[in-house]
Structure formats: structure tokens, C-alpha cells
Symmetry: C2
């Protein structure tokens, strides 16, 4: 699976698992809400700093957010 | 450890483990050699597409190249 799709699926699943809205996640990670929405639709190609910031808010590592095994769960 | 440092350490170690020069890795990943050198010095903030391309050349996943546990080995 393409890396942006893996990231998109993991991000959405982990956000919902923590009961966070896109707006709340965006606010906590200091990122624009529309950007979070685009990332969850694999529209953009984020940098590792952005992935790391989102991962930290979710209590994970960037590696976990990019892990294909997590995406297929 | 900061995500760029984790990536820089993993990239350099995995490249050397496969006996590849920066030039060879850059050529195989269709990336500029000076960019590979900068990434190994954690100067730039790469996108996940770039990390994924480099990982594929090294026979790894992007997640593995960003994994903190790999960085501390």
C-alpha cells in the first residue's frame, strides 16, 4: 500500500480511537484543521516533522503512524 | 531523540550496512546526492514520499527508517 494511504488510514483510526475530532487533533498538534482532513484523504505528502507532531499528540511514534501492519488492522 | 536525527542515523547506518555510497543510494532512489548527504546530517525535513523511496532502495519500510529503536542500535 502507498505510504500516504498507510499514513491516512493510521491517522484516522488512531484519532477516532482516542475520541478526537479533526479540529481537536489539529489544535493539539498546532496544525490547520483542513490540513488534517487532507492528510486523512492522503491528498498531501507531509514531512516527518508533521507526522512526528501528530504522533506525539496521539501518544505514538512517527514510525507507528507509518507502519503498514497498523494500516491493515 | 528528534525525528530528523533518528532518520539521519538510520539512513546512514542502513546505507553503509549495504555497502552503498551516498551517490549510489541517491542514484537508485532518484534523489540528488547532496540531498542524501544533507538528510544524513539531519539538515532537511523530508516528506514521507522521499523517506519511502529511500526505504524501498534499502529493502525496508519507511516506518523502519523512522524507528527510534533502530537509531539507538
Amino acid at each position: 500500500m502507498e505510504i500516504r494511504k498507510i499514513f491516512a488510514q493510521n491517522l484516522k483510526r488512531e484519532r477516532l480511537a482516542r475520541g478526537l475530532s479533526q479540529e481537536e487533533l489539529a489544535h493539539l498538534a498546532d496544525i490547520d484543521r483542513t490540513y488534517v482532513s487532507s492528510l486523512e484523504r492522503s491528498v498531501y505528502n507531509p514531512t516527518i516533522d508533521v507526522v512526528d507532531r501528530l504522533a506525539k499528540v496521539l501518544g505514538m511514534t512517527a514510525a507507528q503512524l507509518l507502519s503498514p501492519t497498523n494500516a491493515q488492522r
